[in-house]
């Protein structure tokens, strides 16, 4: 046997009818000019006949055809009646469905990865996605509150909200003459506990008794 390995492969594919048109034409040309190639092909055909005859005989003996027919009949009779019932669908349709499902999974993974990336970038910048959309909170400094009118001092007691449930809460501040401001001092700064400063500015009244 002097035929190269690639030619033997082509001949086997030719015998099985698996070659494309151009390759088949090439093998046809080879068979027309090469005796050894023709002998090899004849041998392959004879071998195939022997195999097919043997297989058919064994299948007939085993009742394969009856089994296949029975399976097909049962599948056709079957109706989707419950959880365990599977519907037989064409392979091409199932493959297309699976590919579509795979596409949706890929899109979901991509969206999740994008969201995770955005979260990590924002986190590395010291912000959070939620805080980025919310109005920015003022820095943790003292927040002045004016419980009484800043221009006209009021004698009416002003009820002021609590600053800290466990610390110091202001309940009332009033002044008949002076301007009053209230400063809530948050805890945590310089180790200070939360506290309240009532600022009674008596310059308007001259600081008298």
């Amino acid at each position: 046997m002097s035929l190269p390995h690639e030619t033997m492969i082509d001949l086997m594919a030719y015998a099985d009818g698996e070659l494309e048109a151009d390759a088949r034409a090439r093998v046809d040309e080879l068979l027309r000019t090469n005796d050894e190639a023709r002998r090899v092909l004849d041998a392959m055909g004879a071998l195939g006949d022997v195999v097919r005859e043997g297989a058919d005989a064994r299948a007939e003996a085993a009742g394969i055809d009856e089994i296949a027919e029975e399976v097909i009949t049962r599948i056709e009779r079957a109706e989707p009646t419950g959880k365990g019932t599977q519907i037989v669908v064409p392979i091409a349709e199932a493959r297309a469905s699976r590919e579509g499902r795979g596409g949706r999974v890929a899109v979901a993974i991509a969206v999740f990865a994008l969201a995770a990336g955005v979260f990590l970038v924002l986190r590395s910048n010291g912000t959070s996605p939620v805080a980025d959309n919310a109005p920015h909170e003022p820095p943790p400094v003292v927040q002045p509150v004016s419980p009484s009118a800043p221009v006209a001092p009021s004698a009416v007691p002003a009820e002021v909200a609590a600053a800290d449930d466990d610390g110091v809460d202001l309940e009332e501040v009033s002044s008949t003459k002076n301007k009053v401001n209230v400063f809530f001092m948050p805890s945590g700064n310089a180790g200070a506990a939360a506290s309240v400063v009532v600022w009674i500015d008596d310059r308007r009244a001259g600081g008298g008794k």
Binding site: V141, V142, P144, P157, D166, G167, V168, D169, L170, E171, E172, V173, S174, S175, T176, K177, N178, V180, N181, F183, M185, N189, A190, G191, A192, A193, S195, V196, V197, V198, W199, I200, D201, D202, R203, G207, K209
Partner: protein
């Protein structure tokens, strides 16, 4: 095992006693005091200075106190809250009277011993209680009244209940 249980029980008992002791003391009355700290704060264009006598109070580093760069110690007194207040508001409540450096009077009043370990307090400054403040605070936590004119600055008054 028994020794360990006894030890745990003893520790729990001691902790419970330590927790309840301040409440018992304050609930019995007559043992509460008020500490009044008075500082003189001003803005010195030539540079800030803090009197060594000024106690280290973290709040002084925060606004609005941080607007002033010079603090001088004026006075620090601990007074008993056992005299019934003679006039309104809060007539009859245990009070302590203090004379400020400005000449005004400061009356500090104990209004209520609350169940949350805090105390309701009140203070009036000046004649006819021109300036009146009421607050709730735990013992040893200062409450500040500031802004009273004094020389070229203001007074900072820290009021702290001491059991």
């Amino acid at each position: 095992m028994i020794a360990r249980r006894r030890f745990v029980a003893l520790a729990v008992g001691v902790a419970a006693m330590a927790w309840s002791l301040p409440r018992v003391t304050s609930a019995q009355g007559g043992k509460l005091h008020v500490e009044i700290l008075v500082l003189y704060a001003r803005k010195d264009p030539g540079g800030g200075h803090v009197d060594p006598q000024v106690p280290k109070i973290p709040q002084l580093s925060q606004a609005p106190f941080s607007d002033f760069n010079t603090y001088a110690f004026v006075d620090r007194k601990t007074l008993s809250l056992d005299a019934p207040k003679a006039t309104d508001p809060w007539k009859g409540k245990p009070t302590a009277t203090y004379a400020l450096a400005t000449g005004k009077s400061l009356d500090v009043v104990l209004l209520e011993d609350r169940t949350d370990k805090r105390f309701k307090m009140g203070a009036v400054i000046g004649q006819d209680a021109a300036d009146r403040v009421r607050w709730i605070a735990p013992p040893n936590e200062p409450f500040f009244i500031a802004g009273q004119s004094y020389k070229d600055g203001i007074l900072v008054i820290g009021i702290t209940l001491r059991p």
